[in-house]
Amino acid sequence: MTSETSARTHPASAFLHRHVRVRLGLLLSAPLLWLGLVYIAALAALLITAFWTVDTFTGQVRIEWTLDNIVTVISGSLYQAVTLRTVGVAVVVTLIDIAVALPIAFFMAKVASKRWQRILVIAVLMPLWASYLVKAYAWRSVLSQDGIFAWLVEPFGGSTPGYGLHAAVITLAYLWLPYVILPIYAGLERVPDSLLEASGDLGANSWRTFRSVVLPLLWPAILAGSIFSFSLTLGDYITVNIVGGTSQLLGNLVYTNVGAANNLPLASAISLVPIAIIFVYLAAVRRTGALSNL
């Protein structure tokens, strides 16, 4: 910056021009304040509530500091079982989504013509415009005893899985699929075709090229997608309610404790479990270095 230009401009704007961080800070302060208030404060309130207790007679939350709720959640066999089941479902849903999303995204990014590419992106986005509830109920009808699924597989000796954990996994995998396809698709778009050609040119068949070139370059995108499906599954309770039969996930326990049991502190303590798991997951993903490549 020469002295002539700064002399003619307002001192404050010259200062801002030189101090990029200050400028950025001012620009971001309003949204950050909003985020701080609404998001962080709500989360903090949740955290604090977990250390309070409930008056058994009045049902009112009493501000009386205790670790009871946390201890219950950690040591109670019900909570342990549900936590394990929830994590298991989240892992299975994530794996299914990745397995389904990879070929679809690959087709979209590397095989389809420009025209088909646009059509497919819209097709992938379309389910996101429909209500979550509608989709869950649609799967309930598909998986019912006389639904389309049964009608399709019965001639081959199969039968519908009925309502339960399997149905929940299928439905959740369907619901989060777009969130997994899109980052993988975007990641594939960034892999130049010439790299795939170079690999084939050097003697690698398609599978080898996929394993040695595409997959390593795609890891960050796959992990990004998995964060969506994994965390969304951990927090879900509606789908499980609709198609899950009697099985419960952590979300359902939170829901019953907030509603029927009217025990907000315990509900808060339970909801800390998925938060803790996500943090562990993010830390693990971070260690792979994938987040820095996003």
């Binding site: 170079a198 084939g200 040119d201 050097l202 003697g203």
Partner: protein, 385 residues
């Protein structure tokens, strides 16, 4: 066409034989019914303006693109329907296409790894290839930590380490600056000689093609318009297109040709074959009077634009080694000077004005000298080795 490189004459199977090769994209004929034989161990260049189909030919040979019609035969084996990994050719890509997640040594060893070569051996061979391209000590770097010229060399090492029979290079020096480019040209030529691999080299830099190649195919609009050694291409261009595209040419058409050269048809004269004199010397039969319109100093030479009295503007190239220092010192003073342009009759090359499309076909039938100029100006034929 030099007998050295025609498979028909030596009876050897060509490294690559293209027959009736056609590739259309929608309504664009990127490659149009191409016949081409490329001999074993040849440094073959494809030269042509942008969009003339050079890259497409290369991609069809490599197998990235299926031809609309025609066949690709590698050393006697029809590979038209084969996948790239089943073909014994390797490509050096224009953007190098190095794998960003692998180190330099891993990049180079990739082809060997895919072929199941044991780790110790493939690392040794990759290291060797790295030394050939003078990048010892760069083994553990990532491609993003290399300069353009270094990346280019890694791409070269990666493609040659698997010992392909044919190496395809798509403007591999395009992204380099002039100095590095000239250095890499020498290295490329040396590498090709020491490995004995057939090189098919795409460029739109005519000088590069002339310096490096055994033979050059000049492309225009998906067709080969002339095929020959650098000397043939430069000294005896077969069409106005080639004459203008490869180097600079003074082209004289019918009436003008009759007036100045004393013969009809389309003819061309290279600027460096023309000399300027203050009075007719009587040494040459061809002499035309004119006025100097512009003098451009370009270092090794001076380019002089002369307006001939017959109404034709010509370009003359005067080498500064031969011109007197005084005439160089006062270049601008020469503007408006009256001169006589002279050149020997053998400097005149008759051009086939109807684009000479048939010339490019390496027809299997035995044939005499191809140059159309030969029959008209026999003097030039003796100049070709």
């Amino acid at each position: 066409m030099s007998p050295r490189w025609t498979g028909e004459r030596t009876g050897r199977t060509p490294a690559i034989r293209l027959r009736g090769l056609t590739k259309t994209f929608g309504s664009v004929n990127a490659v149009d019914n191409l016949d081409l034989d490329i001999a074993e161990g040849e440094f073959f260049s494809m030269l042509g303006p942008s969009g003339s189909g050079k890259t497409t030919v290369l991609r069809v040979i490599a197998g990235f693109e299926q031809p609309t019609a025609g066949t690709v035969v590698l050393r006697g084996q029809d590979v038209t329907a084969k996948a790239p990994f089943d073909r014994d050719v390797n490509t050096v890509f224009q953007d190098y296409a190095l794998f960003p997640h692998m180190s330099v040594i891993e990049n180079i060893a990739y082809g060997l790894r895919v072929r199941g070569v044991a780790k110790a051996e493939r690392l040794a061979r990759a290291q060797e290839a790295l030394e050939v391209v003078q990048l010892r000590g760069f083994a553990q770097r990532k491609p993003s930590e290399l300069s353009g010229g270094q990346r280019q060399r890694v791409a070269l090492a990666r493609a040659t380490v698997v010992r392909p029979k044919v190496l395809l290079l798509d403007e591999p020096l395009g992204a380099l600056d002039l100095k590095l480019r000239e250095q890499m040209q020498v290295e490329l030529k040396e590498l090709q000689r020491s490995l004995g691999i057939t090189f098919i080299f795409v460029t739109h830099d005519q000088e590069e093609a002339l310096t490096l190649s055994d033979r050059i195919a000049v492309f225009n609009a998906g067709k080969v318009v002339q095929l020959g050694t650098p000397t043939e291409i430069y000294e005896r261009p077969s069409s106005p297109f080639v004459a203008a595209f490869v180097g600079t040419s003074n082209i004289f058409e019918d009436a003008l040709a009759r007036a100045v050269l004393g013969r009809g048809g389309t003819n061309s004269v290279r600027p460096e074959r023309i000399s300027l004199h203050s009075a007719p010397t009587g040494e040459s039969t061809i002499s035309a009077a004119g006025t100097i319109a512009e003098v451009i100093y370009i270092g090794t030479a001076t380019r002089i634009i002369v307006d001939l009295d017959v109404g034709k503007r010509i370009t003359v190239l005067e080498h500064n080694a031969t011109a007197s220092v005084e005439s160089r010192a006062s270049v601008s003073d020469r503007r408006g000077e009256r001169v006589h342009a002279e050149w020997p009759p053998e400097a005149i090359v008759a051009l086939d004005s109807d684009s000479a499309a048939t010339l490019g076909d390496a027809a299997p039938a035995p044939q005499g000298p191809v140059g159309h100029g030969a029959s008209i100006a026999p003097a030039t034929a003796s100049k070709i080795p």
